[in-house]
């Protein structure tokens, strides 16, 4: 196997194994726009690639050439596609291919094509590939715990190949490392709803609510657990309204007098769903109100909107719209 970093010393035109191939120059037309002043090794590699691509030559040397081109431009999806055709034609050792992809992915972690190729590969390798795929994504996460492609890949692996056993623990660890990592929270939601080893959202709800609330109380300004908490009641408003832990956490944060933006927002949503607030809520919100604008007969939801408009000026228009569109029977 040749090197995969695209930096062979000898130009292709001087390599004996390529002597019989006539390179195909790019047909940009006479007056191309956005013309790239290609590096010489790039231009040459592409000229030879075009030759084998047009000839549909699915050989070992073609495979090696695609490695070189990928090293120069990992975004060339045509080359990746052709590489897959060649791998199949050669019945190549896919474990070796995986090692190759490992190396390329570490160099270019934010590239669609690499991850798509990985997925294709893992599918061919089957369920026994699951462990290595999960390990690999963990490695990427140590560098960038929010890499979007990597998370999508990890989810695909779990769904297609399995390996759910430690997933909830892994999410736990990531959240402990960085409680603001929204990707980890998203993954947690994915696990509790999709894992065949857990009971599903309904069964997990109680413990997850406690988990979210704990995170909220530690950092009330952290949006992730608030949205996660909301998500736990998705499609089940009745449960949301009957579970008094949710308004309770809002109250606690409001009482602290600090970082209460999401608490207010949650309270507003609860009220819109039909939540009947205690007097304590009314008192607290009143305390936050600018006395100029409140009147004794404003309902709580309107007061909440008013406070939000003041403390969250960036979203003043949104809160004003929420106020205008309050349901008629709201408290």
């Amino acid at each position: 196997m040749s090197s995969d970093d695209g930096e062979e010393c000898l130009p292709l035109s001087q390599r004996p194994e390529w002597a019989d191939v006539r390179p195909v120059p790019q047909d940009d037309g006479p007056k191309p726009v956005v013309p790239i002043h290609y590096r010489e090794n790039f231009r040459e590699a592409m000229d030879y690639f075009r030759a084998v691509y047009l000839a549909d030559e699915r050989s070992l040397r073609s495979l090696n050439l695609t490695s070189e081109v990928i090293g120069l431009n990992p975004g060339n999806y045509t080359v990746w596609h052709f590489r897959r055709l060649v791998l199949e034609a050669l019945n190549a050792d896919l474990h070796e291919e995986r090692d190759y992809v490992d190396r390329v992915a570490e160099r270019f972690p934010k590239n669609y094509q690499i991850w798509h190729h990985r997925r294709w590969l893992a599918e061919k390798l089957g369920p026994k590939a699951a462990d290595k795929e999960l390990e690999f994504t963990k490695k990427i996460f140590t560098i960038d715990a929010k890499n979007y492609h990597t998370w999508s890949h990890r989810q695909w692996v779990l769904l297609a190949l399995g390996g759910w056993d430690d997933e909830l623990d892994y999410c736990q660890k990531l959240i402990e490392n960085d409680v603001f990592n929204n990707s980890a929270w998203n993954q947690r939601y994915f696990v509790i709803t999709k894992s065949p080893l857990l009971g599903g959202l309904q069964a997990m709800r109680e413990s997850e609510v406690s988990f979210a609330i704990k995170a909220i109380l530690t950092n009330p300004q952290n949006e992730s657990p608030w949205r996660y908490l909301r998500g736990l009641y998705k499609g089940d408003i009745e449960q949301l309204l009957s579970d008094n832990q949710v308004p309770e956490v809002c109250l606690q944060v409001l009482k602290s007098g600090r970082n209460f933006l999401f608490a207010l927002s949650m309270l507003l949503d609860l009220l819109c769903f039909g939540f009947q607030p205690s007097d304590e809520f009314k008192r607290i919100v009143e305390g936050l109100t600018n006395s100029e604008s409140s009147s004794s007969d404003t309902n709580l939801a309107t007061s909440v909107c008013n406070v939000l408009e003041t403390v969250d000026p960036l979203r003043a228009n949104y809160w004003a719209w929420r106020r205008r569109t309050l349901p008629s029977m709201v408290c």
Partner: protein, 539 residues
């Protein structure tokens, strides 16, 4: 005549004494922190009405010290508290949160967090966020303290420089662009669309060359690849179509092989209802949008193409409210725009949980005034379009749904329909047209002036072009989406861009900053869309 004054850090008038005291303590601060203590400045709002907005938006955490500060901090005499200023006619809203040092005189090492008491270890997210905030606030402070002439300069759109940067890219790109060799139609679109937004056009020779080049990228079996000889790809197809529409000549529009395009799109359709980017390529919401947008624009959108797409995109809406690339992935600005726009184009927006989507999207605008792509991630100029544009689409949808009718928190009331009413005999491809005919009654739901502030002060590069955020380099992609986001913001109050222009209050900086309006479903300049629609509806 009394002027209105705002004290721009957010201290109550009575605390002026304390500010003076704080100033005298400035010298006791560690050297590298002293720049954070700024002179109180009093701004006359009457002569600077648009500046009022900028100042009001200055992040409330202005005096917040970086939380990983070590060293002894002495705040004797200064108490941290939250306060709001109200002045008779000028109001600054904002919270000032500042912790006083727990110890008084002995020097000690504190990790000082404004968000919680005492010592706290910051996470990577927090550290990165504070880093960005520092750079952004530095720019805003510099702006706030600048004399009026400098201010005008900073907030102006540097059109000539942008045109020069953009046109140069059309003619020549250096070797570092090797990695964009499979994205050349994108480069065409980013540049040509940006030029059109600035109200300019490319010269006819260049235009012919673009048309000819894209023709070289067109595959004989339909669709466009990233360059001559490359496989057709949905993203580059979308970019090529939009470029040709933006050029707008008969020659440009007729160069698209519609028949073959339809066949290509059909080939890309997956059994799930979604689309894959290229033969054997990845399936995601982006692919769905690019396919549907191109089909709609070319008047070839039909029931076969849209079958089950709505279900796929609907399944990509997450518990957070935004839309992900694939079912289960994280809610993301780019995919949210793609998903929402696609749903509108196929007239199935009612499959989305709209209140949830709106709530998620508006919370993506942060203290830096720009938008982030995902919860707890960093601001980026390009999301001005992806997120800002999504919110603008919703604005129009809400208007179409019946003038801000009431929505119950999580469920739309039954009378609410987010779908576009087509005229009798109307085709699916007409939805895009019908959408723009709805007058936007609903006011913008995000802070449009704040967004313009971020774009002009933090993203705009003096040498031409736009960037992600301070510290990053300019590029054509960001130039395109920053300008697109700027246009969306400027026109956000405009009921009908066909018949009226934005008021000067809606445009940050001089009125000459005004860009061309876009069609927010396709992101092409509105006039160009109209022309293309006329051309393609003849088929």
């Amino acid at each position: 005549m009394t002027s209105n004054f705002i004290i721009f850090e957010g201290w109550h008038v009575k605390n002026l004494l304390k500010i003076t005291k704080y100033q005298s303590h400035r010298q006791t601060l560690p050297r590298d922190l002293r720049h954070l203590v700024i002179k109180p400045s009093i701004v006359d709002t009457e002569s600077n009405p648009s500046f009022f907005f900028s100042v009001a938006l200055l992040p409330p955490f202005f005096f917040q010290l970086p939380s990983n500060t070590h060293g002894s901090l002495d705040f004797r005499g200064i108490r941290g508290h939250e306060s709001q200023i109200s002045n008779e006619r000028a109001r600054v809203r904002g919270k000032l949160v500042m912790e006083s040092s727990p110890s008084s005189s002995t020097s000690s090492t504190h990790c000082f967090s404004p968000h919680s008491q005492g010592e706290v270890k910051l996470t990577i997210t927090q550290l990165e966020q504070e880093n960005v905030e520092r750079k952004v606030f530095e720019i805003y402070r510099h702006f706030a303290e600048a004399p009026p002439q400098a201010k005008s300069f900073m907030v102006e759109l540097w059109r000539d420089e942008h045109i020069e940067f953009l046109t140069k890219g059309l003619r020549k790109l250096g070797p570092n662009f090797d990695i964009l060799d499979a994205n050349r139609p994108w480069l065409c679109y980013w540049i040509v669309h940006s030029i059109a937004l600035l109200g300019e056009h490319v010269d006819s020779e260049l235009e012919n060359n673009i048309v000819a080049f894209l023709a070289h990228c067109q595959d004989k079996d339909g669709g466009y690849g990233g360059g001559p000889g490359q496989m057709p790809h949905l993203a580059t197809t979308y970019a090529a179509v939009n470029t040709l529409v933006t050029l707008g000549s008969e020659r440009a529009l007729s160069s698209i092989d519609r028949g073959k395009m339809y066949e290509f799109l059909l080939q890309m359709k997956d059994a799930s209802g979604a689309f894959r980017m290229h033969d054997g390529g990845e399936i995601d919401v982006r692919a769905c949008y690019t396919a549907i947008s191109a089909a709609s624009m070319l008047n070839i959108l039909d029931s076969v193409l849209i079958k089950d797409v709505g279900n796929f995109i609907g399944s990509c809406q997450t518990y957070e409210g935004g839309i992900a690339g694939e079912p289960g992935s994280e809610a993301h600005g780019g995919y949210t725009f793609c998903g929402l726009a696609a749903m509108i184009l196929i007239n199935e927006a009612d499959k989305l949980d709209m209140p949830s989507l709106i709530d998620w999207a508006v919370f993506r605008q942060g203290v830096e005034c720009g938008f982030q792509g995902r919860t707890n991630k960093l601001v980026d100029g390009c999301y001005s379009f992806w997120q800002g544009g999504a919110v603008a689409l919703i604005q129009k949808l809400l208007s179409a749904a019946g003038k801000e009718s009431p929505l119950c928190g999580g469920q739309a009331s039954e009378e609410c329909m987010y779908n576009i009413t087509l005229s009798p005999g109307g085709k699916l491809s007409d939805v895009g047209f019908a959408f723009m005919n709805e007058k936007t009654e609903c006011s913008p739901l995000f802070h449009t002036i704040a967004l313009q502030q971020y774009l002009l002060l933090c993203s705009q590069i003096h040498e031409g072009g736009f960037r992600d955020k301070p510290g990053k380099s300019r590029d054509h992609y960001h130039s395109c989406y920053c300008l697109s986001g700027l246009s969306v913001s400027q026109y956000s109050h405009c009921k009908d861009p066909h018949h009226s222009s934005p008021s000067p209050n809606d445009v940050l900086g001089p009125y000459s900053n005004l860009l061309e309006p876009i069609h927010p479903l396709y992101n092409v300049v509105l006039d160009k869309y109209d022309k293309a629609r006329e051309f393609f509806s003849a088929f």
